[in-house]
Amino acid sequence: MEPMIRIENVSKTFYGKENTVEALKGITLDINAGDIYGIIGMSGAGKSTLVRCLNFLERPTEGTVYVEGKDLSAMSGKELLKMRRSVAMIFQHFNLLMQRTVLDNICFPMEIAGVKKSEAREKAREYLKIVDLSEKENAYPAQLSGGQKQRVAIARALAMDPKILLCDEATSALDPTTTKSILALLKEINRKYGITIVIITHSMEVVQEICTKVAIVDAGELAENGTVEEVFTSPRSKAARKLVFQGERKVSLMKSKRCIRIVFTVNSSFEPVIANMVLECKASVNILLADTKNIGGIARGQMVLQLPEDEQVAERMIAYLRERNLTVEELEDYVD
């Protein structure tokens, strides 16, 4: 199957007066139709530049991007404008027109595309219903909360009837609860309308919550990509590891330097695995990091445990965890 978006050897260099910045270095990536694809990286990694290359708001210095098989670098100015109408985008700071009502904001892309005003208004109301903000159609953006503004921006994006939705740090300015509801809305849009979604974020949580695939960008290079499960369970690159272990390192009073990481993927949320292991082996462990969630009755997430000094007990614990179908991985130098 032809990918929805093919990023082919894309490099972007910004030439300043005194210094040049290589924001992207030879990135190649396929994003398939229907994917919710996360592009994650620390700030300054180049992910925002990368997403702007997908609709040619930034023109790559080298390489090219294909959308539905069409080479963007071969398009004329007019063709690019037309292509952009099928690639919607939402932003960290929402970027709504402050002097227009909510409804007129949603009408805006249709206005650009030359849709009749009465028809546009009717459609805009439908989109407003999808994002659950019907009662705010005559409000102005300044009267809305951050989450509501992002919902308006999503409705405005839908008004373009897009095949692709690019999200540039769309939840980074929102609190955790609002973030969850926005992510749920994006998920629903992906499922209902089959819109391919590309999510730029610096947060592993966002990726875990919603993405099917993930690419990790580090210092302008593609460090690693694959399904979220693959990358999360066994991160290969240093950048991936750093992002997966986003938690702070804690100094422990336990003397042992032996640490393991456990990844939960299939166990029941209601099975107290660690407590049972401690009871069974009659030795304590120190939980250095725990980030697990109950998703549909299945425990998902990870823990980092510091094992007792006694090697035999430690081995028994690892064996116990492996028996329970958990992925166990030894961590070197997690505690110094």
């Binding site: 952009r84 919607a88 932003f91 970027n95 402050m98 002097q99 650009i112 953006p141």
Partner: protein, 221 residues
Amino acid sequence: MLTSSEISMLLEATGTSVYMTLVSTLMAYVIGLPVGILLVVCAPGGLKPRKLVFKVLDIIVNITRSIPFLILMLLATPLARAITGKSYGANATIISLTLAAAPFIARLVESSLLEVDKGVIEAAQSMGAGTWSIVTKVLIGEARVSLIVGSTIALGTVLGYTAMSGAIGGGGLGDVAIRYGYNRWNMKILLATVVLLVILMQFIQVVGSRLSKKLDRRLTD
């Protein structure tokens, strides 16, 4: 007190001043608005960077702005005569007022448009909006409050210029102030023209402020 003929003269002069101010500001906007838009659009890093157009306009605006108004009026006399047939009076003055105000207005428009959030412009670009749509719908629409504040400043400045134009036969309140107030040392008339100018200026400012506040949707009530 003022005689009735003095009063009617002052009222007529007020009317002339208002007429000159409004017409020349309007005409100056016809020139200044597109120039201001071009300065923003063609600037380096603008919507459609055109270095040459930007440089040329930038220099013309700077030169015309640096010529003092009275001298510009003198320089514009041949042009005024060619267009209106006279080198003095209200209509002739309007030509030079327009020339003097246009570059100033171009700068006012430029600074208003530059205030528009770059993110909103980027959003419009991501929707496939062309330069024309972005200028008319995003730049002007989002900057409208600032543009109105700017036009209030422009009207006030032009009103000041009309008074100055009286020095070389421009007509209006400035003319009366010079001929009666200064040349004949009639203090009452001189003061009356000042009071009338103050009232006009206040009126422009109050209307401009009210209008801009009323049209601003960024304030929540």
